[in-house]
């Protein structure tokens, strides 16, 4: 068995004798579409870097941009599942608004009168209620869509309008603040980051996981005697993956706490400040950690679990899924429950960043989220889409918007550019597909 498998990699690598770049990439089994998106993102970042004389690529900017994109990226992973199963969710922005306002009302109005301000369990209770509320509202909409058969466009359009109204009713028409002091850390910032040491540990854990996954997949394939990647491709993938992770940690750790904040911190802890002030590495911001966690969990759900397989099967052929005995209605309802939970996570980050609930929290998210999913390769025809693609899509949009604002272009110009990118990205994709088939 091992002998058979052992010869396989050379066959794969040695196909057609000559090795073009295309062959090399194919040997690594990398998704070409994702590879193209990573390239596009790199080009955008480098382009703005050059245009701003390198300023754009400073750690503080890269961190801010990733934190700003976090809310949209998180919901986009759920939108992939919804669009793959031939539905749409227009209510996500308003849902973020409702849940964000719920967090704020709980922490600014309810808790002070009941359990007290900034209690250690306060933010956990708030978060649990928010997640439950998200699952419930998502499930409610999903029930109407899956079991009663109202088109998702209509149900969630209702949600888009209705939940925004609920935000006003909940808040009495004003901003509600402040949030719990621990809850605020979910939103990132110097204090809401992992710190230098923890960030390195996280980076190393991720590297170990990458290597383990590569090894495990190779071992599994060998066990069954399937063709495996050539060894050099495995090593290359592992190396690139680890270098990227460690590089990202290094960037995050090169952002130091601003001097004022660091000296406040020193005074509060009673640490004597060394000359030149205390040097504290910020490290990976919590929102970014949450995005990474959500991305891993959602990728796992989409590709390694029965639920994900059923969602993709339904999107590819609803009749086939039904005839195969899949409980399609429950599957669809679950995609919306998931969406509600992701909205609650996103709302926590968005409202923590603002330290309160505003009336327009999450406004317009639905469009950015759908755009991120679609730029990331999710097809409205159903059955096609990837979680990493959606996150890259969100990053591409956020990089463009942030870069443009960095160069002094206001938000109308940003919208124009992002909209062009959206249509061009999808247009290129359709063109490629037609040429390919």
């Amino acid at each position: 068995m091992t002998d058979v498998a052992g010869t396989a990699p050379d066959q794969v690598a040695g196909q057609k004798g000559g090795r073009s770049i295309g062959d090399l990439i194919r040997a690594t089994e990398i998704d070409l579409r994702l590879f193209g998106m990573v390239l596009a993102l790199a080009l955008i970042l480098i382009g703005f870097g050059i245009a701003t004389g390198g300023q754009f690529l400073e750690p503080v900017n890269l961190l801010t941009l990733s934190v700003q994109g976090a809310s949209v990226a998180i919901i986009a992973t759920g939108m992939v599942m919804v669009i793959v199963s031939r539905n749409i969710d227009l209510s996500v922005g308003s849902l973020v608004g409702v849940i964000g306002m719920t967090y704020a009302v709980l922490m600014a109005d309810v808790f002070p009168k009941t359990i007290g301000v900034n209690q250690p369990i306060g933010w956990i209770i708030a978060l649990a209620i928010g997640l439950g509320l998200g699952a419930f509202i998502g499930g409610f909409q999903g029930f109407i869509i899956a079991y009663i058969g109202v088109p998702s466009f209509v149900v969630t359009l209702g949600g888009l309008l209705g939940f925004r109204g609920v935000v006003w009713v909940l808040s009495g028409g004003t901003t509600v603040a402040p949030d719990d002091s621990t809850f605020v850390l979910i939103g990132g910032g110097p204090a809401g980051s992992l710190g230098g040491t923890m960030s390195w540990i996280v980076g190393i854990v991720i590297c170990v996981a990458v290597v383990f996954l590569l090894w495990n997949s190779r071992r599994q394939k060998r066990k069954f005697g399937f063709p495996v990647r050539p060894m050099w491709a495995e090593v290359l993938l592992g190396t690139i993956g680890c270098l990227f992770v460690l590089g990202a940690v290094w960037v995050a750790n090169s952002y130091l706490w601003p001097a004022g904040l660091a000296s406040q911190f020193a005074k509060a802890r009673g640490i004597t400040e060394p000359p030149g002030g205390l040097q504290i590495q910020a490290g990976i911001p919590w929102p970014l950690m949450i995005v990474i966690g959500v991305a891993i969990a959602m990728t796992f759900l989409a590709t390694r679990r029965r639920f994900g397989r059923n969602v993709f099967a339904y999107g590819g052929n609803p009749d086939a899924a039904e005839l195969a005995g899949i409980n399609t209605r429950w599957t669809i309802m679950k995609t919306f429950i998931l969406m509600g939970i992701l909205c609650a996570i996103s709302a926590a980050i968005a409202s923590a960043r603002l330290n309160g609930g505003t009336l327009d929290l999450g406004q317009g998210y639905e469009l950015y989220v759908i755009a991120a999913a679609v730029i990331g390769g999710t097809s409205f025809a159903g059955g096609i889409g990837t979680i990493p693609g959606a996150i890259l899509g969100a990053l591409v949009m956020q990089s463009l918007a942030y870069g443009l604002s960095f160069m002094g272009f206001n938000s109308p110009i940003q919208n124009i550019v992002v909209s062009i990118v959206l249509v061009v990205a999808v247009g290129l994709d359709s063109y490629n597909k037609r040429r390919g088939s």
Partner: protein
């Protein structure tokens, strides 16, 4: 000749018996009071014109559609089939005319659709599914190698093979094949015919729906002819000619009941 007289083994309870099945779509009575049975190792051909109710009748057995009335017996036991899962639980597998494949997924994912293999953590075991698929496809289509491509990119015959593999892999006792050779070339059709004969020897009962009289005549032990939702007659193959079956399909009458004028009209048409 009535259906009861032609049963090959009348003393034994049939593998499947559908009794008094009625299905109506709005005002259209698609299946009217149909009774049909199938024995182990037997192929029953189900023929009839478009809209005769063959597919609808079989969709009732495969759980894709609920009958308005009627009973289904498996080995003499009354069972209720209200969805495809119930049918599969009773060993009834179906190869649909549309193949019912999820085009965006690969062959192993389609083969195990709705019945995915999982590891001890409940996660999909794609490697085990691919391994099983390689084994069953090795029987049906030994040259098949595209195990990780979406089935969209496969040829008609390969797609058919995936659909058949799905039915065969799960040890069906009862197989429903709806136009299994409609999309196939001559070589692939021969392959499917060989497969049907092989499954027959394994004791599987097969309902074969086909437009192709010769296909049915070649493979079936008995032929049931449907006309406007009713069974015209169920006959043993050796008792009829293909022309007589054709007459039943077109006129909706048993050979003995056909008048001379009708026969002449038929010959003029054909």
């Amino acid at each position: 000749m009535t259906a009861a007289e032609v049963r090959t083994v009348p003393e034994q309870a049939p593998l499947v018996e559908m009794r008094g099945i009625n299905v109506a779509f709005g005002g259209v009575h698609a299946v009217r009071d149909v009774t049909i049975d199938l024995h182990p190792g037997e192929v029953v051909g189900l023929v009839g014109g478009n809209g005769a109710g063959k597919s609808t009748l079989m969709r009732v057995l495969s759980g894709a559609h609920r009958a308005d009335s009627g009973e289904i017996f498996i080995n003499g036991d009354s069972i209720s089939i209200s969805n495809p899962r119930d049918a599969k639980a009773n060993g009834i597998e179906t190869i649909y005319q549309t193949l019912a494949l999820a085009d965006n997924l690969d062959a192993p994912a389609n083969l195990f659709l709705g019945r995915e293999l999982t590891n001890r953590w409940g996660s999909l075991d794609d490697d085990a599914m691919e391994d099983a698929t390689r084994k069953v496809m090795g029987r049906l289509n030994p040259n098949f190698e595209r195990f990780t491509m979406p089935v969209k990119s496969l040829s008609g015959g390969q797609r058919q093979a995936v659909a058949i593999a799905r039915a065969v892999h799960f040890n069906a006792r009862i197989l429903i094949m709806d136009e299994p050779t409609a999309a196939l070339g001559p070589a692939e059709t021969a392959q499917v015919r060989n497969l049907v004969r092989q499954l027959k020897t394994e004791g599987i009962g097969i309902f074969l729906i086909s437009h192709d009289i010769h296909d049915v005549y070649d493979l079936a032990d008995r032929v049931s002819v449907m006309y406007h939702g009713r069974i015209v007659d169920t006959v043993s193959k050796q008792d009829v000619t293909t022309d007589e079956i054709l007459g039943m399909i077109i006129l909706g009458k048993k050979p003995g009941d056909v008048t001379q004028t009708e026969l002449e009209a038929l010959e003029l048409r054909g």
